[in-house]
């Protein structure tokens, strides 16, 4: 498997429900980030969690990180139709330089 794999690949929920997306990675990281991408557009940074942190909140977003399992989850609470987008996790690798690897993403569709 590749660095930064998300599951599920696609998720369809009703407005108001919570959406949970998971990410797994293989190598040691400095931090892990979640980005959002609307169709055909650029990426928007949502939240960053450092390797020594376990949980982070930002508005309706909650991110967890388990470095022992090399996994992270993104929870969007009380979803809205406007949350419809692709969500990617990205890991900043522990290399001598700066290298960020994106996962394949989860396509979230929130039905109004």
């Amino acid at each position: 498997s590749q660095q930064g794999e998300e599951d599920p690949q696609a998720l369809s929920i009703q407005e108001g429900e919570n959406a949970t997306m998971n990410c797994s990675y293989k190598t040691s990281i400095n931090n892990l980030q979640w980005y959002r991408q609307n169709s055909g557009r650029g990426l928007v940074h949502l939240i960053l969690i450092r390797s020594n942190e376990r949980e982070k909140h930002s508005g309706r977003l909650r991110v967890t990180l388990d470095t022992s399992k090399k996994s992270s989850s993104l929870l969007i609470t009380a979803s809205r139709a406007a949350d419809t987008a692709s969500y990617f996790c990205a890991t900043d690798l522990r290399t001598g330089g700066f290298k960020t690897i994106f996962g394949a993403g989860t396509r979230l569709f929130v039905k109004a």
Binding site: H45, L48, T95, G97, F98, K99, F102
Partner: protein, 116 residues
């Protein structure tokens, strides 16, 4: 709010031609990146750039690719001899000093490269 800009938004070129994609990172950022995204696929790291030199590059970033920061504001990606498989969306990103361990990258809107 400062933002990363990219030009052109869409570039069409013939196979074998050279293209230069341009980016203007956020002015006080020190770290610069290029990524590509083939239609329907994930975002792939190409290269990172710091202190006027390449920091890391991926296996995609072969001798056909080069990056340059020709002045204090622009950051360019050059593809010397384009191939059909270079057709993709190319994103530039920049980030602030990494001393805190944070690397929030700000992405530009992308350049769609179409190689015919």
């Amino acid at each position: 709010e400062p933002e990363v800009t990219q030009t052109p938004s869409h570039q069409v070129t013939q196979m074998g031609q050279e293209v230069i994609l341009r980016c203007v990172p956020i002015s006080n950022h020190l770290y610069f990146y290029w990524y590509r995204q083939i239609l329907g696929q994930k975002v792939e790291f190409l290269v990172s750039f710091y202190n006027n030199e390449i920091s890391e590059k991926s296996e995609i970033f072969d001798d056909q690719f080069s990056v340059e920061r020709p002045d204090g504001s622009n950051f360019t990606l050059k593809i010397r001899s384009t191939k059909l498989e270079d057709s993709a969306m190319y994103f530039c990103a920049s980030s602030d000093l990494r001393g805190t361990g944070k690397n929030e990258q700000f992405f530009g809107p992308g350049t769609r490269l179409t190689v015919l």
